[in-house]
Symmetry: C2
């Protein structure tokens, strides 16, 4: 098969650059991908497959950077969207979906007594910090150095255009290092309102790191001992690891948790769930947006989560992820290439040890895969959907085997 080419994508990107700074910004920026090896524009999706504007077809292991959890255009989700859309989406007040979805989320989430809804992961992560401050009357938020909790000034990875005041109340510790947290709590005695942490460490451009034994329970204990609100940022991992929240997989229950991404199979929705002890603070803070009560994404969410639950989608993604890992590790070994395969099976990431924190081999590997119809990103963890079939996996492993060979031939060491 001839490697893909991207004439229409490139022409569109030239047009885009004229009317959009950088052409495409944020986590989908082509600067983060392998030059010349990826499409910049997509045309359609169906199940585990996506097609770019040049007609090239891909098996999708990025799932729109998380949202697509059941595959593109899942029939039950689309049917729910169509049914709600026929009635309407955006009104002067919510619809019944607002109540149904909050009831459903509370019913499947052991720690949670309530839910609020918004549009972006950033919306709900920032909201959680405001609720924690209101509940405690304290100013500071503790987070892990290098963690991603959204695009707002207090936590965005790029500091251009920020002021020192934006982060005056943020203090940092290290993931999987309880001592670093104890130190930061001691240094800011009685001042920390909330602690935000992801269920596992998935900082972009780094190998992922699962919580070591005792780490999350230790964080929970420190929060309890010091009256700190424990906020689990489940935006990226939520509904791929456990239906009750990713804390359940690792044996920890937060006070607040945030969701976005997989919550509605690509329809724009985010949620924050909380305990009764924070209900009053939640009512006291201001939180709103033009589309926060819109019904279509909530109908999509109910359909998505019920389908995941009814079909044990979590176990299916784990099993698919295990097969992918086994296959890739076996291929790497057979080529004599050392890789680091990190993260839970459903949210995996692979890097090349010889890249030593750069991404030369990874960019070649992922680029070769992309040009042969398998979509992985080189500087970001991947996402498994329930739609990946055994045939997809078989085809994927043919492509990855050739991509490993290309790495082997291009890099001597």
């Amino acid at each position: 098969m001839k490697p893909y080419t991207f004439e229409k994508s490139e022409a569109l990107f030239e047009r885009a650059k004229k009317v959009i700074p950088g052409g495409i910004y944020g986590h989908q920026s082509p600067l983060l991908l392998t030059k010349g090896a990826y499409p910049s524009f997509f045309a359609r999706g169906e199940g585990s497959h996506v097609w770019d504007v040049d007609g090239n077809e891909y098996i999708d292991y990025m799932c729109s950077y998380g949202p697509i959890v059941l595959g593109h255009r899942h029939p039950r989700v689309e049917e729910a969207v169509r049914r709600q859309g026929d009635l309407g989406n955006c009104f002067n007040a919510p619809t019944e979906r607002w109540v149904e979805l909050a009831e459903y989320l509370v019913s499947i989430t052991p720690f949670a007594d309530w839910a609020v809804f918004a549009k972006n992961g950033s919306d709900v992560c920032t909201y959680a910090t405001v609720v924690a401050r209101q509940a405690t009357g304290r100013p500071k938020i503790a987070m892990c150095q290098g963690a991603y909790h959204g695009a707002h000034a207090w936590c965005t990875p790029v500091t251009s255009g920020l002021t020192p005041e934006d982060r005056a109340n943020i203090v940092y510790f290290t993931y999987n290092d309880l001592e670093s947290l104890q130190r930061v709590v001691a240094e800011n005695h009685g001042k920390i309102a909330g602690l935000m942490i992801s269920p596992f460490r998935h900082d972009a451009g780094h190998d992922s790191e699962l919580p070591v034994e005792g780490f999350l329970s230790g964080v929970r204990k420190i929060c309890d001992d010091h009256g700190i609100v424990f906020i689990l940022d489940d935006v990226r991992a939520g509904f791929r690891l456990h239906m009750g929240g990713s804390g359940e997989l690792f044996g920890v229950r937060p006070d607040l948790s945030t969701y976005c991404k997989a919550i509605a199979n690509g329809y724009p929705l985010a949620a924050c769930l909380g305990r009764d002890s924070l209900r009053k603070a939640s009512q006291e803070v201001f939180f709103t947006g033009s589309y926060f009560t819109s019904a279509v994404p909530m109908a999509a969410s109910l359909a998505t989560l019920r389908e995941l639950e009814a079909t044990d989608g979590i176990e299916r993604m784990r099993a698919i992820g295990e097969k992918l890992r086994t296959g890739l590790l076996s291929e790497a070994r057979s080529h004599g290439i050392e890789v680091t395969y990190s993260g839970p099976p459903a949210i995996p990431y692979m890097t090349f040890k010889a890249d030593a924190g750069r991404f030369d081999r990874n960019k070649l590997f992922c680029g070769e895969c992309s040009r042969s119809g398998v979509y992985f990103a080189p500087r970001h963890n991947w996402f498994i959907s329930t739609a990946i079939s055994d045939q997809d996996l078989e085809r994927t492993l043919e492509v990855t085997d050739r991509a490993f060979a290309a790495v082997k031939s291009q890099f001597v060491a």
Copy 2:
């Protein structure tokens, strides 16, 4: 006709309160409406009419607090949504809609050279402040006291859960008072990065105020003289007053403008438009969200704006608004009631002079209208859509006449 009752709404609200703090939060909170006179949940919409969960029908003058500009489920918008939805919505990169919409917005907006997209009005207003800071290297943002620019910490109307640092770099002046701006610029000499202002003053719970002659051009001159980025917050008014941005109506061109609400007839989209001089700063700051590149809202936006343009929707909304104003003012006069009717015709607001800044008569008036099938909010400006028919207006004025009579009979003064 018997006044509406709301049994199903009330039952749903009781359920909502158990699983959502306050039941419904933000600008759609029932606390801002007339107790017992409004539905809390809607079931469907079609054109200028909406139906609540009890089956009560309303002529809609709130338009979901702005987004619905062509009426609910406008056929051309729904067709565009269906066509795009059949292909897919949320991918690993944008679709062609991303480029088309940016090109279209730039083509209809005299001052703008580029556009970026997001989900909430808050997203783009905050983004504009970050771009202004990055472009100027200065920390401060000037805004009008009492203005609403979103739900983020630097500007939200409720300060619960905030820290002093959140507003350390915000300075305030008074709408329609150039001297107050000159004072604030002098006091913060060389430190103001950007100035954010709405095209007319539409603070919630206040009569609206159009810019007085020379005010906006004076603001423009002060910005030019001091190298301050002029940011027009057109989230609320955009695409109801002028297709080229509301500044065109008032003879002023900003450096950045922000849109949300009417941009996509209820589908979740926000945009910031800017000048070439700010392109570099825009590329340098971080801005992203899980659904920022999603195609369905962009397809809806293209259909909405093209329909507005092709049918001169702006003029239609102005004319409908004029008729509503003429009718309401004539009725008020005939009842001997003094009202203040403020704002442009397409975004009107009416208060009762004898209420003197409280809302007793307004709550009675709007509540009587709601219970008779005409939906106005008492503490927030209203929104006209192009879908309002002459028959709707006739029916509206029958209802409002009785509502004025109720105010007359219940309030002696």
